[in-house]
């Protein structure tokens, strides 16, 4: 469903007819006529609307498939397995910190 110049022309024609129908309806109304007495005007309105819809569907581009797993596609096990509420802090990364005190482990061991 590629948008083509053909569909753009149809859309322009459709909108012209729709605007024409609206303008003439407003004119008739201001001159005091009842709109239900003019079936051609109603017909023109509906047909031009359908023409516009047809053209817009083609111009709007391809529809995308909705998949249940779309959002999971780019996730990896590494982020899924990481659970913030179960973080533990006594890992080896601790000793890389500038504030690390190597004697703290001995103290902790002695206490136990």
């Amino acid at each position: 469903m590629a948008s083509t110049g053909y569909h753009k022309i149809i859309l322009t024609i459709g909108i012209c007819f729709l605007v024409h129908a609206a303008v003439s309806a407003a004119q008739r109304k201001s001159s005091g006529q009842d709109l239900h007495e003019i079936p051609s005007l109603i017909f023109q309105g509906i047909v031009s609307l359908i023409v516009c819809m047809y053209a817009i569907i083609y111009i709007a581009g391809d529809l995308k498939e909705i998949r249940a797993t779309e959002e999971l596609e780019n996730k990896s096990w590494e982020t899924l397995r990481n659970i913030p509420s179960f973080y533990m802090f006594n890992h080896r990364g601790r000793s890389l910190s500038p504030a690390y005190d190597p004697t703290s482990i001995n103290k902790a061991l002695n206490e136990e």
Binding site: W77, T79, Y87, L96
Partner: protein, 285 residues
């Protein structure tokens, strides 16, 4: 990191939000971003600043940067003096300092005030884990799961603990529980199959094959599942118990997997040289 130094505060905020939402640990980077661009601009973040402060303080505890953690927690206490969530952060700080007894006392009072506070109960389990008392932690976790059966994270944690104890049958049960929550998550199927494959035995490996296939069906880019499938097929083919008809079917699957893997490598790298190398390393031909 050049990037973190130059980025403005709103870029830094977006990065932190992304990591928070995607459960990325990256504690060292969080601290770097905090010190380089966010610490002085924290008032600009609006209501987001409290979540950021929490994230930074956990990251700081993770890197043993107690100074950073203390200042973050302090500003949170000023804002919410009675919050149990902030109190849990204080407990985490005690844990990072290895003052477990005090931490436990605090947790008991939190649970007394609010019986449904799951974060405090989880911290209690973490203290057991930190003391390397895995069997006790498992016992505590099962008690917890009797009360809060729908907590997926905890099922996952229990699964990991069982794996570290080598109790594969029970780990498999935990994964099955997770399936009930997310039947369409390809990573869970892949993980489940990984555990079954590790457990071994013809029946388990056949079940693993079907779950690897399910994972690939849900996401065909899951390379780990593709390799897992290749390995399990190889296992079945070399096993003596398998019937000839079954072997024929499995070898068909094997062909399909290697073709599929080759295609994925083509798409990503444009050649399959590394793939042939890796396959020979796995002794799967």
């Amino acid at each position: 990191m050049e990037l973190t130094k130059q980025s403005s505060w709103n870029k830094a905020r977006d990065i932190l939000k992304d990591w928070r939402d995607n459960n990325q640990r990256r504690s060292v980077e969080v601290i770097e971003i905090w010190e380089n661009s966010l610490a002085s601009k924290i008032h600009k973040l609006g209501d987001d600043r409290f979540v950021v402060l929490e994230q930074v303080s956990v990251a700081a505890l993770d890197c043993n940067r107690l100074d950073v953690a203390a200042s973050c927690i302090h500003s949170l206490i000023k804002e919410f003096p009675n919050s149990l969530r902030v109190r849990t952060l204080l407990v985490m700080k005690l844990e990072a300092q290895q003052r477990y007894e005090e931490a436990l006392e605090h947790l008991e009072t939190i649970i007394k005030i609010d019986e449904t506070n799951t974060a405090a109960r989880k911290r209690k389990i973490c203290i057991l884990k930190a003391k390397n008392k895995i069997p006790e932690a498992i016992k505590e976790l099962t008690e917890y799961l009797k009360k809060f059966m729908t907590d997926q994270e905890t099922w996952q944690e229990l699964c990991d603990l069982y794996l570290s104890e080598g109790d594969y049958a029970k780990a498999v049960f935990c994964m099955e529980e997770l399936f009930l929550h997310h039947p369409h998550n390809h990573l869970l199927h892949q993980r489940y199959a990984d555990i079954l494959y590790t457990q071994g035995g013809l029946e388990n490996i056949e079940l693993a094959i079907s779950h690897y296939l399910m994972a690939i069906n849900l996401n065909e880019k899951n390379i780990r599942a593709l390799y897992g499938l290749a390995l399990s097929c190889h296992q079945v083919l070399t096993s003596a118990k398998c019937s000839a008809a079954k072997k024929k079917e499995i070898s068909k699957q094997m062909m399909w997997v290697s073709k599929h893997l080759a295609r994925q490598y083509e798409e990503q790298q444009g050649n399959t040289e590394t793939l042939t190398e890796l396959m020979s390393a796995l002794q799967v031909s």
